[in-house]
């Protein structure tokens, strides 16, 4: 597990072998526990998850089962994991986090809007801590899943990051590639 610098001790990056979304989340939750511990206020913690492919593998695997067994006999086991928001739900259950729970289908380009929501929730005191999680599942069993985590406890931290990332505050020209490399968030389009 690598610890990045700046906003120190609150940025983490890891990767693990991909199984399927359900099995991989066991490893992801174990990693989150190791690096973040337990949330101080689980009911005032928000989880903001960005993934480019959550649910893809399970959706295809589920339908393969349907094609094989027919719609009348297919096993529903995989179905909950076909939803992109299943991983974020799994994190909430593992940690008992009952605050706001967001899932975005996106990439690093979605950081600005995600930070905007965190800024709002922190400023309005709907949460006291935000876990911003970027989670890209391996596309197949040979590829690794990549996890990045940023933790915020203060709207000022969020705004500082936004100012750091963009050429102007709330500028939408796009993220600088330096910034992207720095945070090791996953691929842009």
């Amino acid at each position: 597990m690598e610890r990045l610098n700046d906003l120190t001790r609150r940025e983490y990056y890891a990767s693990f072998p991909f199984a399927d979304e359900k099995a991989t989340m066991e490893a992801v939750n174990a990693a989150l526990q190791a690096i973040l511990g337990v949330p101080v206020s689980p009911d005032k913690t928000g989880i903001y998850l960005i993934s480019s492919n959550a649910g893809f593998y399970s959706s295809v695997a589920f339908w393969e089962e349907v094609l094989e067994k027919g719609p009348g006999l297919a096993n529903p086991e995989r179905f909950p994991w076909t939803l992109a928001n299943a991983p974020c739900g799994a994190i909430s259950r593992a940690f008992g986090i009952t605050g706001p729970n967001y899932t975005f289908h996106g990439t690093a380009m979605d950081l600005p809007v995600t930070l905007e929501q965190i800024d709002f929730d922190l400023s309005q005191e709907l949460i006291s801590q935000a876990w911003l999680i970027a989670l890209d599942f391996g596309k197949n069993l040979k590829e690794n899943t990549r996890l990045s985590v940023l933790v915020f406890s203060d709207a000022l931290e969020v705004n500082a990051l936004m100012a750091q990332l963009y050429r102007q505050p709330y500028g939408l020209e796009g993220l600088s590639s330096d910034a992207l490399k720095k945070f090791q968030f996953f691929a842009t389009d």
């Binding site: 959706s59 719609p71 297919a74 739900g89 706001p100 967001y102």
Partner: protein, 372 residues
């Protein structure tokens, strides 16, 4: 605002059929022939679309109505906030046959991009993948961006094409009714699958007024919580739902007694309806406001559901009319939720739109009539 639903492709058409208590639920021969155990669903007929682009087509049809009604040009830096569950689920089904297809280009964001492309919007659109609550999320998030001053105009909503994947999933999970969806009814036996889209144009009130427009309604707040309980079942005591509603009320500084109407999630499953009923009783005590549910009429349109239902809330405010709950015939005393069997005129100011997703994501969007 604009809609695409099995009961109509315009808000006015949908509304009048809903007031008559109509339901789009019926048996479908193609599903029966393909071996589906339950073949009742609510689907839109006569929509032409490119292969694997049904979701996009529904979203664009709804967006077209919304943009037209607003009379506004769509600037390049419009914020687009769009929700869906699977996006173009047919693409995933196709991939399962072993054929090659770019799934990134067919998931939730692909529909959001379709809207952006249609209107020449250059901002990266936001794709919200929170399933049955996605519409509420989209509208709530759009409002935050508007309040922040980052954007002047937002296009927000949700869409979901009819999904065979979801049809099998819910059916085999034994969550699906064999015939009708009956929210809060003692004889309810599950949900029905629907499809559709609803899209809203949103701006700051002062901007609308400055150009002489009268807003259809005002969005006040969005309450979000997570049950952190089970992959699919809701927390039985309804506490997660209760907290979402309370958050919405508290954020807006509105008291429970001020709520005139609750548009419920009302999916018609045994567990979900009970949990929602408990939550409403905890929030409102003995005085639960009139409730409505439209999933008996339209089925459960997943990522589009809360957006379509929001359109019904706005329309109800415009018409100052509380709608009935189609297919609700005999109230379950365990739920005891006050639904109507026919429309009723009422003074409607504050309306709650509730929507809950698999995994225990609870959303409550609070809106208010625009009082000049």
């Amino acid at each position: 605002m604009g809609v695409a639903t099995p009961l109509g492709m315009s808000v006015s058409g949908l509304w009048s059929r809903l007031l008559e208590g109509q339901s789009a639920a019926r048996a479908w021969e193609d599903l029966a022939a393909e071996g589906y155990r339950s073949n009742y669903a609510c689907r839109i007929e006569g929509i032409e679309h490119a292969p694997f682009r049904r979701g996009r087509q529904l979203a664009l049809l709804a967006a077209e109505s919304a943009v037209k009604q607003s009379g506004l040009p769509v600037p390049k830096n419009t914020g687009i906030f769009f929700g869906s569950t699977l996006g173009e689920s047919a693409a995933f089904e196709f991939a399962a046959t072993g054929q090659s297809i770019d799934l990134q280009d067919h998931a939730v964001r692909s529909i959001a991009r379709g809207i952006a492309h249609q209107y020449g919007v250059e901002n990266a659109p936001t794709a919200i993948a929170t399933a049955c609550a996605a519409g509420n999320y989209a509208v709530g998030m759009a409002c935050r961006a508007l309040k922040k001053g980052r954007i002047a105009l937002a296009i927000a909503g949700g869409a979901e094409p009819f999904s065979r994947l979801a049809m099998v999933g819910f059916s085999r999970s034994r969550a699906m009714s064999n015939q009708y969806c009956r929210p809060f009814d003692v004889n309810r036996s599950g949900m029905l699958l629907g499809e559709g889209a609803a899209i809203f144009m949103l701006e700051r009130a002062e901007d609308a007024l400055a150009r002489g427009a009268t807003p259809l309604a005002e969005v006040l707040s969005l309450g979000l919580t997570c049950d952190a309980y089970h992959p699919v079942a809701p927390r039985p005591d309804g506490s997660g739902i209760r907290r979402a509603i309370e958050t919405a009320l508290k954020t807006a500084g509105v008291l429970p007694e001020q709520i005139d109407w609750v548009n419920t999630h009302g999916s018609g499953t045994k567990l979900s309806d009970i949990a929602e009923a408990k939550a409403l009783k905890q929030v409102f005590g003995e005085n639960v406001p009139t409730c409505s549910g439209s999933k008996g009429a339209l089925g459960h349109a997943l990522g589009a559901a809360s957006a379509i239902e929001l359109a019904l809330c706005v329309q109800g405010i415009q018409a100052q009319t509380l709608p009935p709950t189609p297919c609700h015939e005999q109230a379950d005393p365990e739920c005891n939720i006050p639904c109507l069997s026919s429309p009723r005129s009422a003074t409607i100011q504050y309306v709650l739109n509730c929507a809950f997703a698999f995994g225990g994501l609870n959303s409550a969007l609070l809106i208010r009539s625009w009082n000049v």
